[in-house]
Amino acid sequence: MAEVTVGGLRFHVQRLGPEVGVPVVFLHGLIMDNLSSWFFTAAPKVAAHQPVLLYDLRGHGKSERPTAGYSVEDMVGDLGGILDESLPPDQSVELVGNSFGGLLALAFALARPERVRGLCLVDGQVHDEAFGPEMVSSLGLEGRERDEMIARSFKAWLGRHSERKRNRLARNASELVHGTSLVQDLAHSAPPSTQELERLSCPVLALYGEHSDVRERGENLAARLPNAQLEIVEGCTHSLLWEQTAQLEQRVLSWVGRESGPGGKD
């Protein structure tokens, strides 16, 4: 397994595509997700043109699972460390994040703007004041309610009805939620201020599903960012990566391959 060690933690990393060009880093969602959701959708398409880097967030997929250290700040540090280990120090990247991956992409761009050439948020979660309490109420569930939540968020694409897999994923999710401080750490992470958001100069493509429960907050976020382009994907919910996969892949491909504007840095 390809690994990068950052801060003593082992991260499962996959690098695809050519050596030369603007690297595109894909970020996956929370709990039930891992790098495979990008590996089998947009990542190979993008890798036909540009270098691609994918990794499993701490506690997810095949990356190491510490019991603590799951704040947004911790995960921003992980991403910075992985980039520092994998790319030249002056190389800026395109970040593409799905759901929580979008929240993380934005947080990273605010913390390390010199490293980011552009952002693509795919129904990105929005880190506002409501985010923490929502995390606790949705992920702090117990028993049958929790199992139902896991079943709802079950978006595995291979053998969707497999009992073995459903049980393993549910067990894995439960261990992450109950065996680590993830929920509390995220709930206590401070959201970015309006001033910080207004200073973000890189271009942002914000894609939201027409019927997504995050859409309104996503629209508010896009309105605050000075260089954001909002696009609503018709007929989709929060799961637009799975509902309009081909369309989304094409949009991501054209976004990350766009020409830099005047003063843009490759």
Binding site: M1, A2, Q14, L16, G17, N34, L35, S36, S37, F39, F40, T41, P44, K45, A47, A48, D56, G61, K62, A156, W157, L158, G159, R160, S162, R164, K165, R168, L169, T245, A246
Partner: protein, 91 residues
């Protein structure tokens, strides 16, 4: 059984590891999803194992880039074996 099928079968067993509980032998008709119940992250490991085994000779990720998600979900072991043999015969 072709050498390639044998190689891919071995890789699949290694990827699934301790969870391996398949009674039937792996054939060209075995599907990754319905029969093997391979998790998507396990399929990533299989892609990595192919890279280690065949190097640049077999561009599995390039092959995936030509496929729609629904096609990937339906993949059978025979599709991967056929692709590997095609790459190797053209080199």
């Amino acid at each position: 059984m072709s050498d390639t099928l044998q190689t891919v079968g071995r890789m699949i067993q290694e990827v699934i590891g301790d969870d391996w509980d398949l009674d039937q032998p792996i054939t060209l008709e075995t599907s990754f999803g319905d029969d093997l119940e391979l998790e998507s992250i396990e399929f990533v490991s299989l892609a990595e194992a192919l890279k280690v085994e065949y190097g640049d000779e077999v561009d599995f990720v390039g092959w995936l880039s030509t496929k729609e998600l629904d096609e990937i979900i339906q993949l059978k072991v025979g599709d991967v074996v056929e692709f590997i043999d095609l790459c190797r015969s053209s080199n």
